[in-house]
Symmetry: D2
Subunit: 183 residues, 4 copies
């Protein structure tokens, strides 16, 4: 088998591991806090940032006010708003700096990381641990650097969005209405 | 004098020309439409896109709902919303395609361009002509390619924001309240 | 079972379907063309754009010159360069417009889409069909709108990167060397 | 006179002040370092980031390898590379954090700010002081918040690009060759 097949199989296996080991109480808590607080800012550097943006866009689609820290339309964070940060290592410079600042303005900080003992996790109010290979880990793998973490995060965050939709009693017609039509 | 001094002088001179020749009726009309319609989408490619984003961010600061087409948090354009497009040449592929699509969904299309006879200008409801050198022009200049257009656009759009603030009776304390505090 | 579990299971199932049905000749062809042509531009709108960016960043990590159309550092496309476009529906306005323009300048256009009969696929030199739910499909699903397509694309494109790494005989130490260290 | 005219006049006046007071030795030094070191990373938050991106794009146009920290194609900073940071106040969280990290990896840090006594300026190797109103200043002005700083920075950085072009003996035909043709 070539590296393509081995890589995609490893991504699937890692998703299965995550679906069995992810802390469902944390998943429920994140969904409930997003529904209750209604206003979510996300940030991540590099590919973690792309995953964070995909989640922010989905939240917008289902009617949750969401923003990407660092993009153009990024208003002030108010006390009680959610700041959700994605970093595999939990040590990314800008992500940790933003987490610190978010705590100071009174936000609820949620982090998505492989390392519950990282700087980012320690400053967070809620930590969602995702299994995957990160920059600081050495595990031999056919999926390139951080791919396991990134795909697992995307699948988990999208599935949190599905849970929020279920809790709010909305379906995809809501998304179709809000989805960008000029792009 | 070196090229730095010549370039900055040329930028200043071009700003002066624009401040004297820009169509004040169009400026007033754009400010009034933004205040009346309340929801503005912007787009531009390359440096024109950066100028468009700077305007969108300022609009957000002063309380106008604004979005950047192509960024993460970009909902659907509704009939009557404003789509403001920046293109020096008025012929940029994606900008013209987005203008066409915006017309189809019933948006009011405002274009900012040097060329009132361009494809973009022809499809627009309101055309703001800005003087400057563009990709399609040959004028000898010390300011690099498109710099005259970009700086004039930024100054003019920021000054439209100042006019909107005056019309709404708001001052900079509103901006300070809305300006990103976690970035 | 709640919507979270159902959604993540559906994402895994869709990945399995893709791993079994994806056209391996197309996968090999894309890897070979990227290695041969060395310079790749990517584009997609919305979440498809985020997936395209994740691939471009991975290509940069493994030493392939890559660019994102619409980002700041985006030089001119030369004849023979690759333009890789992601669109579930294959009908996104800006993506089709960019595909048309890319053909005109002599690029090799690769599209990643669910619909081999779409406008985008028809103008492309190579079409990679990915299974998933798209904006234009009606299939009942627990994973939100386009999530199946997006996660499958991310996994498939990352696995193409793994295949390129195998073909080039490089490992993750190359990525560690190139990965952003100031972010 | 309405706020539009007053604002654009104030922007022009501020540009004149800057053209007369900017430290030409610092301007020359920045141009020379960029030519010598050949590889430049830029960053700024909010509108300062847009100005930084405009400069990075112009550098790419004139053949200098440039990157935007936070965008997709952002490789590792090597010792001796330039990291150029824009922040009016010089106290923006992420900008200062990135400046600190850049120093640690051995980059030459250039900051563009109104405040030579700021945290950002103090950690920088070269400080370019630009006059304008910033978030931390109280000066009464008709141009909205930070507009004076942003427009002056754009004009000054574009004029540094003009100086680099003069020093390298290249003209706009180089830009036309490199400017994005698919966008």
């Amino acid at each position: 088998m070539n590296a393509f097949i081995l890589s995609i199989q490893e991504i699937i296996d890692n998703l299965k591991v995550n679906s069995e080991t992810v802390d469902m109480q944390v998943i429920e808590k994140i969904a409930d806090e997003i529904i209750a607080r209604k206003r979510v800012f996300v940030y991540g550097a590099g590919r973690s940032g792309l995953v964070a943006k995909a989640f922010a866009q989905r939240l917008m689609h289902i009617g949750i006010e969401s923003y990407v820290i660092g993009e153009t339309i990024n208003p002030s964070v108010k006390p009680g708003n959610i700041v959700l940060l994605v970093s595999g290592s939990g040590e990314t410079t800008s992500t940790v700096a933003i987490g610190d600042k978010a705590k100071k303005v009174g936000a609820l900080v949620i982090s998505v990381t492989t390392r519950p003992d990282s700087s980012l996790a320690r400053l967070s109010d809620i930590v969602l641990q995702v299994s995957g290979k990160t920059k600081l880990m050495e595990k031999k793998s056919y999926a390139p650097f951080t791919s396991l973490f990134d795909t697992a995060c995307l699948a988990i965050l999208d599935s949190i969005a599905a849970l929020i939709m279920e809790k709010l009693g909305i379906d995809e017609s809501v998304i179709a209405e809000r989805h960008a039509n000029v792009e």
